[in-house]
């Protein structure tokens, strides 16, 4: 069986700066993979390449046997709306919209009707334990509450892959753990694969396995260290 999502020899430069120098990674259906490594090693760049936000300069990114690196920007952004969810450290909720409007947004973009989208969004806020925040705007929420809403928004379309870049990096230990626990629980329920970028070993410990990047390549000392579920 081929992997759900894979990168093969992925290379990406920013001008003269090499960020990824040939990375291989395969993610199976429903699998949670942590990507760790020191600052600047290329974790976020790898996540952006795998999610089709950035195009690799060389190498391939394959999703369901399709080389998405060859797709147009429009086709990739459609894929991100239907099959992928993204979750960053902060700042992805639209400040002018309420929580329920924020969570409904991906459904509206995917063509759902307004009433339907709102009611599904409200269910998702409930699932993440923040039903009471439905009519609040992000500015009135704590960091943890915002990340719960952002998680609901990232998962509301029931994506096949969730890309999470330091999703709990700005939260205190306990809040971070609760939010991470919710992300992992819901991803397992949906069978959604997760690419989880983090610095923290305690966060990587939620994943099924871990890959370590160093200076834009896989660190062989981090290979084979992962233990299967």
């Amino acid at each position: 069986m081929s992997a759900l999502l894979s990168g093969t020899n992925v290379v990406r430069n920013y001008g003269a700066t090499p960020a990824l120098r040939g990375v291989d990674l395969a993610v199976d259906e429903g699998e949670i993979v942590a990507v760790t490594g020191p600052s600047g090693c290329g974790k976020s760049t790898l996540l952006h390449c795998l999610a089709g936000i950035l195009r690799p300069d060389a190498g391939t990114v394959t999703y369901r046997d399709q080389n998405i690196g060859l797709w147009s920007e429009a086709a990739r952004s459609r894929l991100r709306r239907t099959d992928f969810g993204v979750l960053f450290q902060f700042g992805q909720l639209v400040p002018e919209l309420t929580a329920v409007e924020n969570v409904a947004l991906p459904l509206l973009l995917a063509g759902s009707g307004r009433r339907e989208a709102r009611s599904v969004a409200a269910e998702w806020l409930d699932r993440l334990g923040v039903a009471e925040l439905a009519e609040q705007r992000p500015g009135a929420m704590s960091g943890g509450q915002q990340q719960r809403c952002a998680t609901a928004r990232a998962l509301v379309t029931q994506p096949r892959v969730l890309f999470a870049d330091e999703p709990t990096g700005a939260l205190d230990v306990l809040t971070g753990e609760q939010v991470l626990g919710e992300i992992v629980r819901v991803a397992r329920e949906l069978g959604t694969a997760v690419v989880l970028v983090t610095h923290a070993a305690s966060v990587a410990a939620y994943a099924d396995r871990e890959i370590v990047l160093r200076d834009g390549v896989l660190d062989p000392t981090g290979l084979g260290l992962g233990v299967a579920r």
């Binding site: 020191p38 992992v184 923290a200 070993a201 410990a205 939620y206 000392t221 260290l225 233990v227």
Partner: protein
């Protein structure tokens, strides 16, 4: 904490006498409790009895205590086994981990220290994953969760140190090969 292994590690560089060993021990493990002379000689006695070290000569002008010791082949093998053995990831800071890296750098090289660090890191990560799974199950009681938290917190501190040391040691081996 095993003084015997540290002494074996120090002897891997060549013969030394007791006073010299004490000084080298205290210098290379500055956070450890300074070694008492009595302990140095008692440990050397046991190591000699077990066939891991042997007397290699007397330093005439130094008085009666200036016997120097050297590592035997058995001693070298014993040290080797200890340097390779992964410690069970314990829920507290084990200075054994730290000593092992220091001694590996003394008795062998950065490569050796790196190999150990990689294996130890893997064992720690895998234990951390087990504890995280255990405390995330709905059946976990508050007691289970805080016990896991305690262990995870300490493992995390070890892991941060292992990671940083791995990076520093990688830098060392680069300097040596360049």
């Amino acid at each position: 904490m095993s003084t015997a292994h540290v002494l074996l590690g120090l002897l891997a560089g060549g013969p030394r006498h007791g006073y010299d060993l004490k000084r080298a021990h205290d210098e290379s493990l500055p956070r450890a409790k300074p070694l008492a002379f009595g302990q140095v000689y008692a440990t050397l006695g046991r190591l000699e009895r077990d066939g891991y070290v042997t007397e290699s000569g007397q330093d005439r002008d130094g008085g009666p205590d200036r016997t120097s010791y050297e590592l035997t082949d058995d001693g070298r093998r014993h040290l080797d086994t200890w340097l390779s053995a992964v410690e069970p990831p314990a829920p507290y800071v084990t200075s054994e981990i730290f000593s092992k890296v220091v001694v590996a750098l003394h008795a062998a090289d950065a490569e050796r220290a790196r190999d150990y660090l990689v294996a130890q890191r893997a064992a720690h990560m895998s234990r951390m994953r087990e504890l995280t799974t255990a405390k995330s199950t709905p059946a976990a009681s508050i007691g289970d969760v805080i016990a896991a938290d305690y262990a995870i917190g300490h493992l995390e501190a070890d892991l941060r140190w292992l990671q940083t040391t791995l990076t520093r040691v990688a830098g060392l081996s680069k300097e040596v090969t360049n």
